[in-house]
Symmetry: C2
Subunit: 471 residues, 2 copies
């Protein structure tokens, strides 16, 4: 058995190698590869105001050949950028040591290529939320210092002291078209929606008022009214250690989180609960901040309830950590239906480039057209099989990770994971954590050198992690 | 342990998919966006009745290692098999010299692996329709001789004369579970639906009464009632040389085809014409046989009519080959929305293995779940952008191949393709065609050695091509 599996693994690994080589070949051959959405790859000519060599900047062009760009003569501006991306093809938002395939990696390539920043370190970059492999975002917000053309100042603008500055000064001129500049060089499945001036010191991470996640699912044979009722039990401030992946290795010790609202409803606005198993529903949850894998664990439990495998009050029990201090072992819900849908901030005024929004809509329409048609092709086959009678295979729920058990075992009768205390000891012993006093006076830990997780250090001065959601 | 292995396999499989997707994006000039369905791979353990080495048969296993299988002691049975497949990841149905990635290639791998045939040549194989790269089928039918266990005979059964036979004889026993055997070894996106006994000499190609194709599309700003009215003009027997790719190189000289019905309607049964641009419609066309790219050309013209770029009577004009003998240059509709939905035969009695149909439905449900959720993720983003106001980018039609012109040029004012006569001379000169008398007394040509197209020779004794649809 396991020998077969090993063989299969070898088989697949060589296949992966073969394909990677194939891809490299084409890359080096530098094929003009127009993406399905007709999107221009980062290799198209960059069109950047006030950038002499921008017009000829090209992917693969040796940086050495470029004339050094003098950032010191340009103003810098602290801004917030709002991003939408389809996370399905990426290994997550945050850069990681073990892969280059992250949204953040693509984003910084674009920021560097457009000369909007000199380097990440000096850009005072913060992200609002981290999204996991396969998770999408409609409203990921980052704060960062960008090159500006506002020599006469403005919100968040730092004017260079250099003498050359005065010469270029154009009072009341339009700010650089940040959205246009970035969308020209970003992959089609990552789009900048708009930007906002921000006071120096504004942080997309620490100044975020709340985050809203959406998790979409088909009705199937789920009892959505039961799920809706159950979801309400998540609201309020609770200890979610049994409904997340305890990220102790990253210094997360405090699992109290506040859920402002949690609901389950049809995606059709103001539609009564429908009976068609092929209708779509959404679990929408709004909170101040979230723990690692929290929404997907919350969703997993809701799906068990919807399948009548657990009663709604299982949620209360899981939230009662005195009674149930250790998380029972269960699989979370799959990644691709999850979207970081909104992030809420005070005092930002988003600026859109109307033409750009139209282009983004076109891109989304192209993606949507492909997906909706393929969905209908499948639906047509399903209807064809069903109409030919004698078959009544209900639409099951295919959203749980791992393999499905034949006999269901109630959550509270399952083996449990390690307790929080045991985990802490584990990491402290291995020097992955060092105890110390955190920001809000809470006990906090910093990741040691041997920490397993690898995120952007600049955003890892981990306190309780309470302000750093991670899905 | 083995759970880790399984996870590793899943991980690798998704990586393989990702890379394949990446490669496909670069391959295709069309705007194919593959949110690949997470179906498992053809590499599952084979479980086949009456096949000693089936249990360990695996993709990549050297045939040399297998014990020779004595086909001579087994009965053979002429049958029809009905297949459903998602064509999006394949280069078409028919085997080709220039690629291994065809549905037919996977099908024959499965037939050989299960020892249902000894080799393709001796299997008296015929296919009902050919489908192009990216085109799917819900009801592709093939006729073929398969290994049987019916030693006491039956419809289409040929009992071996070998003495060994009598020993194994089990009167009235169930036929081999063809559907189960093949679905165990086929890729998840290719499924056998059912099979039927067939009289010797029955041909899925020549005995097919009619074929039905479906082409799905979103309403957008298309005038579907205009399209529906226009579609009717395709009905009847016409010369479709201006609505296909003239496949003269394969000996297709006769372009009269009979369309039994052509309609445009909502995919929701009995729904009134809706106004929601995100609703789905279908062009459904039933005919005796079709020409190469015929449906996609017919659809392209309908889309031009729906966009009010052409009047419905453009169809009559294109069908009037005396007045318009040469095809105006235009792009056909993209491939992925097209499905060979049904093939009609007299005298077949399809046999289903109920359990198998349930498994096929589960597979389709998994594919569907992935696609419908990703579609909704995109829809949610589109709604989010639209609700934030000041944008009104309508849903355009993204189903035409090639790049969109800014200024539309009416079909009849465009440059034309070569005339039929010129093409014939072209191929005869180059020795790709040899004139001779065809089956129905029509003039026919056989492909010469230097023929460009490469299909299964056994099905290429091309007469008028009238019985060989090719989409």
């Amino acid at each position: 058995m396991s020998e077969d599996l090993v063989n299969r693994i070898k088989e697949l690994e060589s296949e992966v190698e073969r394909l990677k080589t194939e891809l490299r070949k084409r890359d080096t051959a530098d094929q003009a590869c127009t993406e399905r959405n007709g999107g221009s790859k980062p290799s198209v000519t960059v069109d950047i105001e006030g950038q002499e060599d921008g017009g000829s900047a090209r992917k693969g062009k040796k940086r050495g050949k470029e004339r050094p760009f003098d950032f010191s003569v340009h103003p810098r501006r602290h801004v917030a950028l709002r991003l939408a991306y389809l996370g399905w093809e990426y290994k997550g938002f945050a850069v990681q040591e073990n892969t280059d395939n992250t949204v953040e990696a693509r984003l910084f390539e674009a920021l560097l290529k457009t000369k909007l920043i000199q380097d990440r370190q000096s850009s005072s970059y913060h992200r609002c939320g981290r999204t996991d492999k396969g998770v999408s975002a409609f409203s990921q917000v980052i704060s960062i210092d960008l090159r500006s053309n506002q020599f006469s100042g403005g919100i968040g603008v730092i004017v260079p002291t250099a003498d050359g500055a005065s010469v270029k000064s154009k009072p009341n001129s339009e700010e650089l078209p940040y959205v246009k500049m970035l969308n020209r060089v970003l992959p089609q499945d990552i789009r900048v929606l708009d930007w906002s001036p921000a006071e120096t010191g504004f942080s997309a991470r620490f100044d975020c008022q709340s985050r809203t996640y959406r998790y979409y699912f088909p009705l199937g044979s789920l009892d959505v009214s039961l799920m809706a009722e159950a979801a309400k039990r998540y609201e309020g401030t609770h200890d979610f250690r049994n409904l997340c992946k305890m990220d102790v290795g990253n210094g997360v010790l405090q699992f109290q989180r506040t859920i402002l609202s949690a609901s389950v409803h049809s995606v059709q606005p103001c539609q009564a609960v429908s009976a068609d198993p092929y209708d779509l529903y959404v679990f929408e949850v709004k909170g101040l901040a979230f723990l690692y894998h929290q929404v997907r664990c919350m969703m997993a439990v809701l799906l068990l309830i919807g399948q009548k495998l657990e009663a709604p009050d299982i949620i209360d029990q899981l939230l009662e950590v005195e009674k149930n201090p250790r998380k029972p072992q269960y699989s979370m819900a799959v990644d691709y239906p999850l979207v970081l849908y909104a992030c809420h901030f005070d005092g930002l005024s988003w600026r859109r480039e109307a033409e750009e929004v139209g282009l983004v809509l076109n891109t989304l329409h192209q993606h949507w057209t492909q997906n909706v048609i393929k969905t209908q092709v499948l639906r047509g086959m399903i209807q064809g099989l069903q109409s030919s009678g004698e078959v009544s295979t209900p639409l099951q729920c295919w959203l749980m990770e791992g393999t499905r058990q034949r006999n269901y075992r109630p959550l509270l009768e399952r083996p449990c994971c390690e307790s929080l205390e045991a985990r802490i000891e584990h990491y402290v012993k291995r020097g992955r954590l060092e105890r110390e006093e955190g920001e809000n006076g809470e006990e906090a830990l910093h990741r040691g050198k041997r920490s397993k997780h690898s995120h952007n250090p600049s955003s890892q001065t981990v306190a309780s992690g309470a302000t750093q959601p991670a899905q």
